[in-house]
Amino acid sequence: MIILYDFELSAECYAVRLLLGFTGLAHEIRPVDMFPGREQDEAWFRALSPDGTLPVLDDDGLVLTALPAILAHIAARSGGLGRWWPAAARDEIARWFAHAESLADSALRARWIITTGDGHSLPVLQARAHALLRTLDRHVWFAEKSGADWLAAGAHPSLADVAVFPAVALCEEGGISRQDYPAIRRWLDRVRRIPGFHVMSGVFPAGPARADVPFGSQ
């Protein structure tokens, strides 16, 4: 059974509801009171979605929290993958996903501020970043304990590391110290040891990798 954890006023949740409607896939909706209830911060929800983000899709225990993955999954489950996510247009679609994220960061954030009165001052943004870094640090720490070096499963770094690295590596320029995230600091070292790594202003090289271990990992 497909369950959508949903907040009626969320634009991202709306996108999922749209596709569920277009494809006619059977589902059940479980409302989560993001505002004003902040139900997404409760432990039961954090167990599903560590960062407390919505929407969340639960398909018989397969829990998806990222909008692109949820949409792709619904398309596949409905048998419409080739129509809704054709291989020939994946680059184009990925660009529109990025475009949608940028709009979420601007238009939707403005909407949120005006409709909820939740002022996005610098301290609020920094606090939100710290909350995200806490989740990331915990994820990396337990990954290390299971012998994994990278954000996503697998022995090789993935696009996930590439996508997350820049914001984390530059966060101290936003007044967000990484001192409380030792596992993140070790992951940053590992990414910076991937052969072909390049620095940019504000991102420094790591020490040389151990010769006998790929990427000088643990």
Partner: protein, 578 residues
Amino acid sequence: MVAETAPRAGHNAAWYPIATSDDLPFRHVYHGQLLGQEMAVWRADDGHVNAWENRCLHRGVRLSIGINEGAELKCQYHGWRYANRTAGCTYIPAHPADAPARRISNRTYRVMEADGLVWSTLSPDTPFALPPVDGEKLALRPIPVNASPEMVLTALVHARRSGSDVEALPPLGAGLELADLPGHPARFFVQPVDAARAVIRGIVARPAGDPLPLLRQFDDVLEALREVIEADAARVELPEPIVPVYQPVSVELSSMPPITIGAQNTLRVVVRRKFPAGADIVGLELGALEGHLPTFQPGAHIDLHLPNGLVRQYSLTNGPGEQLSYVIGVKREPTPGSGSQAVHEVVREGDVVAISEPRNNFPLRRDARKTLFIAGGIGITPLLAMAKALEAQGLAYGFELFARSDAHIPFPDDVGRLGARVNRHLGLDPGATSAAIGRIVANPGFAEQIYVCGPGPFLELVREEAAAAGWPESAVHFEYFKNLKPRDSSKSFKVELARSALSLDVPAGKSILAVLRDNGVNGPASCEQGACGTCLTRVLDGEIDHQDVYLNEAEKREGKVMMTCVSRARSTRLVLDI
């Protein structure tokens, strides 16, 4: 119980965990903090854990963004290098030809590793006394909390299983069973990061089998506890951050060194090992009686005070960051009563001997495109230390070694580790040696440097061949331990001491240094034969008769400095900047 474990004034003296052992993997620099003092914490390749004040002595940049090179930590900003254990500066890239003053040393904190945690203290002398824990321990994921350490400890104690005991541990610690995790007694320590920041660190008995489920259970409980503590902390006024106390510049560093005669600052070391290091050569490993030895740089030497009263200079062969003992090599000279005979025959393992702090008159540039080492026999010792440093940094070098035979190669193990870079030239007669050196130095390259060490005639040969091939004098570096040149002290002259307003006569047969001493003007001196450079003195006027082997030809021509122990005047008068 809580009251007893709550911190009080003076807890700066206590030990706290500052990291997990797993936080210090290969070549990583951990960003730590204790009671407002930031620390750069890193494990050297020899396993030693360093906890240093988190700022470079140069521009104050955090060393926690620096590079752990295994034996040295390099600042990210201008590349100052600091040695494992001592935190002494070993190289300043902006001054490639100079040895950093040995007093440039960062503040170090004491470190202990126990039960999977790394401990430190701001106290210089409180003994480390963690109550012993039985069995193998598992360190929990550390949980940083934005609340005062006192609040965190109180909340931990309140979260214990009702009616259960709390075991008071060293400041800000408690042994207890959490209500949400009965049956798993744990030891919790609250690291006081700052006045309103703390880290919960815990250790539990390692379960049989996969530890991950237990680690996750603790993590869930502690994360929930953190949420409660931080919500409470948001309702109270938190104390202001602690103002960090940076190590002030020491009186020693900010004042001129005291001027006294002879080798100062002798320290006692124990002969840990005396071992054959090639035909007629013994190696001595001189270990610190406790802790580590003073910082050295490649090319440095020490004075060794021998049982027969002689003081002799020997180069250190150590690689970077090897600060627990110095290794020197001594070749047996045939002269009875010589320093080398005393080392070979009298000095035994376990003896305690006096040495000077390392001095470096032979600093290694690390900005060369390529460095060429040319060693004659036992003269290899300083070049070994240099090659090890370049090897560690991955810089290009070549190594030409001259010896009488394979058996005469000094420190064959060290030479073997340098591998194929070493070209061996064995058993050559003077003519063949000269020809070989001619070939080696035949093609001077841009920004290349030669470092040569060996017997006097060998040095002269290399210097002549290099000059003939077109090497600039400034690119050929050498160090003499003996001045074998004939010296002439037959002339008498006058010296004027510009700063002391003194005019003195130097008679034939007596050195300037001796005349200065007779008149109560004491300056530093060591070898007193024009080899070590200790008595180097600025000359303001007059023509110098250089008789030393310390200065190179260009420096001698320039005529701005002299060695007062052997050099004299061509003019009737010299004006010295004393």
